[in-house]
Amino acid sequence: MPRLIKNKLVLRVAGTATLVAATLVAAGNVACAAEPAVDNSAAAQNVFASAVAYAQARCVKLYGAGIGRDHGYATGIIVSADGKVLCAQGVYLAADRIRLVLPDGSTHVAEVLRRSDAIQTALLKIDVPTPNYFDVPDVCPAKKGDWVLAVSNLFKVAEGTEELSVNMGVASLRTKLEAHRGFSEVRYDSELLLIDAITSNPGAPGGAVVTADGKLAGMIGKIIEGTATNTRLNYAVPADLLRKFIDDKPIAEPATPSLVSTDKIKPGTFGILLFTLSGKRSPAYIDRVQSGSPAEKAGLKKDDLVLGVGAEIVHSVGDYQKAIADLKAGVEMTLLIKRGNDIQRVTMVSVEVPSATPANAIEKPVAPAIPAEGKSTEPLPKTPLPIKPVDDEKKVD
């Protein structure tokens, strides 16, 4: 079996990077004269042929509604013998009639069975058998660095029975985009598989991303621009998440405790008052620590700089306010604090906002007009304020 031979080779050379390198330098230069053993035949060079053909036979072209800059076409992946097809969410699905073209060129009308916001994916169905389909695995078969082949209807260049286009790259990283970094347009809050083939193109979403041996690694996702890098992401929705969606199992992990909004739990505070006179965009320097507060017990002081709250990076006063906007009492969090040139992680447990000390109680401005957190002299209402996210995000931009 070819695969066995491959594994043997890997085992034999894996111990020494140099050997692997030597093999691969030769690999990158197939025509190299110093390697007479290299088989230059077309078949030998085409190590991805079966995987590509296999994937192309299991992908469909989709045509629906196009509105403005949203393109009315996409790709889909056949995932069952009875006509179920996965695709990416998009405006095109809003069409009265979603046209689906099978690899044999036949056209069918697809209906939307289900949608997932968490992975921005939809499940379609057509009324004809689809004997060639992908087995969607429980575990994503592509590891970082593995070759991946992306098969899609990008720019709808493939028409009728023409085969879908193929891009090649490697799996770059499986990661979860930090929700707080605010990805534009799309709310995709699950893990994704970044790939280095360029797939963020019109028509590509819904395409198949397969390994060199044709296993489904994922589905090209809806186009996302990430604010972490301010670039378009090339990624696949990992196969294991697709599997869960097909099986109608929950995809998103439960929200972290601090974000659970249970009415019975009171709003919380660390007792940190920031220096806010120079505005929300200035670094989050501590102006005052309330006496008896978790911050005081943790040893925080005036002029300490808050750089992070939990997983959130705090660039500014506004970031801090956002990070603790939904804080409940009794939540343990680690703050990243800079004092002089030292950086420390300080863990504290939030306490209930003390409603009896109206003047300095709360860590967020009651109204935008009040400059410093809690520096208002207005008494707070007897009941704790419903803590809402600071609603001035638009002004920050």
């Binding site: 070819p2 695969r3 031979i5 491959k6 050379v13 894996a14 692997v20 390198a21 093999t23 330098v25 690999a27 990158g28 030998a44 060079q45 085409n46 190590v47 991805f48 042929a49 079966s50 995987a51 590509v52 296999y54 192309q56 013998a81 004997p131 060639n132 389909y133 992908f134 970082k144 660095g145 070759w147 193929v166 090649m168 790259g169 770059s172 990283l173 930090e178 970094r181 534009s184 280095d196 060199a212 041996d213 044709g214 990430g226 604010t227 972490a228 890098t229 670039t231 965009r281 670094p283 700089l305 750089l307 990076i313 660039h315 500014s316 800079k338 040139n341 030292d342 920050v396 931009d397």
Partner: protein, 361 residues
């Protein structure tokens, strides 16, 4: 790619079983193992950089240096000395953040000081204090880098400690006036400041955004993930590191002249002398034809610009100029001049020759 075109393979009638692997005599399928091994080798020398505060560039509307905001994520650096010197890209500090931190692979986070920068290569040097025995990677000698060899780019910009990996090849070994190696491995804000590796895990260079046509801070980022990426080699760059360590800012040296084509066939004629022009001070006048620079015969404006790109502020450059009364050599000590308006900070002043392209798409 040429080897994924054909697909004349007969398929089973009913099948969800993935095909068996193809024979792999050339070793393509081994490559991912080696990519991972190379990445693992340099990983201890990679750091995560975070910045706090600074010019707000977030959001779609904010533009800094001609690009839309540089993003909010962490960025990457590479350790270049065991006592805490780190090279990264100036791109990562476009916001001019007051606070920079560096997180080492052991998880320790340190406040970093930005020492000097090389604006011509878009790299800069950070220093963290109180550390020792940091692992320094191996840098590949420039002469060992060949077109077509594997190249692997790494960066932590997606917000994960684990760097994202992109693989490709070296596309050219000598770009941007000799300052950069070109690759088709993806480079983007996700890995500017991170390493471009060879298959053995040695550092070919530091990934940076560059473009031949502009020196603006954010220029070149338009080419992110496009198949055109650049990395600046550091092997043998001890003088450069020392200059940056001393806090110097290295800038492109400029002549301070405006030029035009001498004839339709080419050649370059001085059309004007700018204010505080080094060339003007050296005695170059409008109407002079520049026939050679630094010993190289000048063909046209593009070539003049490419040769000039090798020099920095303070360098002395010899120009051979032709006048009515004959040819003479004039030595010019290059200076930094304020960028011309419209984002065209070019040695020639950009008029009336071809206008250098700005960073816009």
């Amino acid at each position: 790619m040429h080897y994924v075109k054909c697909c004349g393979i007969a398929l089973l009638a009913i099948s969800s079983v993935a095909p068996a692997a193809e024979p792999d005599p050339a070793g393509y399928l081994l490559a991912p193992r080696a990519f991972r091994a190379a990445a693992a080798r340099v990983l201890p020398s990679m750091v995560t950089i975070e910045t706090y505060g600074g010019v707000s560039g977030g959001g779609k509307k904010g533009k800094i240096s001609g690009i839309s905001g540089p993003g909010d994520g962490p960025t990457t650096g590479v350790i270049v000395s065991s006592d805490g010197l780190i090279v990264t890209s100036t791109f990562n500090f476009i916001r001019k953040p007051p606070i920079i931190t560096v997180t080492l692979r052991d998880g320790s986070q340190h406040v970093a000081e930005l020492l000097g920068r090389d604006e011509t290569r878009k790299i800069c040097l950070l220093k963290i204090a109180g550390v020792k025995n940091l692992p320094v990677p191996t840098f590949v000698p420039r002469s060992d880098v060949k077109v077509g060899q594997w190249a692997i780019s790494l960066g932590v910009g997606y917000g994960d400690d684990d760097p994202a990996l992109s693989a490709g090849i070296v596309s050219a070994t000598n770009r941007i006036s000799g300052k950069a190696v070109q690759t088709d491995a993806n480079t983007s804000p996700a890995n500017y400041g991170g390493p471009l590796l060879d298959i053995e895990g040695r550092v070919i260079g530091i990934c940076v955004p560059l473009t031949p046509s502009s020196q603006a801070e954010g220029a070149g980022v338009d080419w992110y993930d496009s198949g055109i990426g650049f990395a600046v080699p550091l092997h043998g760059a001890d003088d450069l590191i020392a200059a940056m360590k001393a806090g110097k800012t290295i800038q492109t040296g400029k002549l301070g002249i405006q030029t035009k084509a001498a004839t339709e066939q080419g050649g370059v004629v001085v059309a004007g002398i700018m204010e505080n022009s080094p060339a003007g001070k050296a005695g170059i006048k409008p109407g002079d034809e520049i026939v050679a620079i630094a010993g190289e015969k000048v063909q046209d404006l593009t070539q003049l610009r490419a040769v000039m790109g090798r020099f920095i502020v303070g360098d002395e450059v010899t120009l051979s100029v032709k006048r009515k009364d004959g040819e003479s050599d004039i030595k010019v000590i290059l200076a930094a001049l304020p960028d011309s308006p419209a984002g065209a900070p070019q040695v020639e002043g950009g008029k009336p020759g071809p206008r250098p392209k700005g960073p816009g798409k």
